[in-house]
Symmetry: C2
Subunit: 197 residues, 2 copies
Amino acid sequence: MENFEEPIERLIEYFRSLPGVGLKTAQRYAFFIIENSKEKAENFANAILDAKNKVKLCRECGNYCAQDVCKICERRNQKIVCVVQEPKDIISMEKVKSYDGVYHVLFGCINPLENKGPNDIRIKELLSRVQKNGVQEVIMATNPDVEGEATAMYIAKLLRPMGVKVTRLAQGISIGSDIEFADEVTLEKALKSRQEI
Amino acid sequence: MENFEEPIERLIEYFRSLPGVGLKTAQRYAFFIIENSKEKAENFANAILDAKNKVKLCRECGNYCAQDVCKICERRNQKIVCVVQEPKDIISMEKVKSYDGVYHVLFGCINPLENKGPNDIRIKELLSRVQKNGVQEVIMATNPDVEGEATAMYIAKLLRPMGVKVTRLAQGISIGSDIEFADEVTLEKALKSRQEI
C-alpha cells in the first residue's frame, strides 16, 4: 500500500532483500520490530553491525570466525581436512558428531558458466596447507552435482602426487528415503557402489 | 552447532526471534548479512533503528506513522471510520481501493482470558473522535471470532445512542473458495444473510 510511512517502508524493503522473504513476511518482521521494545531494536541493529564488522575468515580454513583462527582449526586434528564449497556446508557437516578433523572452504567450485576457474576458489591455500601440516587425508565434500564433481576430481588430481589420500563422500540413496522416488542417476551410483553385507 | 563464533551466533538468535523464523532460516539470513557489503549491513541496522525511533502512533487513528497525524487521516473522509484491531489490519483493508474513509486502531479486543477489558483498548478515543468529527458511520472490522464479535457488539452499544450508524463487515463464504470445504458456522451465517439476486 502506498500509505506506509517512509521508515516502515524502508525497513520492509530491507527485510524483503533477505533470501526467500516476500512482501507479506517482510511486513510481519517490520511490525514485529516496531511493536517490540526500543532496547531490542537496538540490540538487533548492533548484532547486524557486529556480525558484519567482527566476523572475518579463518586464516587456516576460510570459515567465518571472530579471531584469526577459528575454534575448529584450533582444537581439532589437522591431519584430516574436509573440503567444502561454502561455510554453511560446515554447519551441516558438524551435525556428524564423530568427525574430528578440520575443514577447508573453497568459496565456490569450478564453474565455467559463471566464469569461475581454479584460481578463483581457494585451491592454492588448500595445497599449501596440505604441505605445511603434513595432512594425511583430504575428504572432498563438494556438492554431488556436475560442478562439485568436476572440482573434486580436479583437486584430487593435484593432491595425489603429494602422497595424500583423497576420498569423496559416498553417494547413494538417502537414509529414510524411498527407492520408489529415487532418481535413476542416484540409483545407478548406489548400484555401482553396492557393498557386501 | 556449538562451534559458531559469538557475533554470528548472536545475529542468528535475533533473527530467530522474528515471528515464524526457525534455526535454519535464521542461519540463512545471518549468512546473507555476512556475505553482503558492509554498507548494506549498516543501512539495514539503521532501518531497524529508524523504524523503531521515528515511528509513532497517529494522534487520530492510532496507526503507525512518522508524523503526528498519518497520511490517511490527513487526506480522507473523516465521516466514515473503520474500526480494526491492529495496524496490520489496515494494510489488508487498504487493498480495497474503493474505501475512502479513515481508520481507528483498537490495539486488541476485549478478551477476558487475556485480562483485556474495555479500558485496555482504544474505545474511549473512538467515542471522543466520533463526537468531535461528527462521524456518520462506524464500520466494525474486528476479527470474525468470539472476541472480535463481542468487541464489535460492545462498541456498537456505546455508539448507537450517539446517533451514529454502526455497521459490521458482511460474513459469509469467501470468494473463490469451495462450499465443500466451508465450515458449518460460516455456512449457517451465509444462509441466514442470504440475499435476493
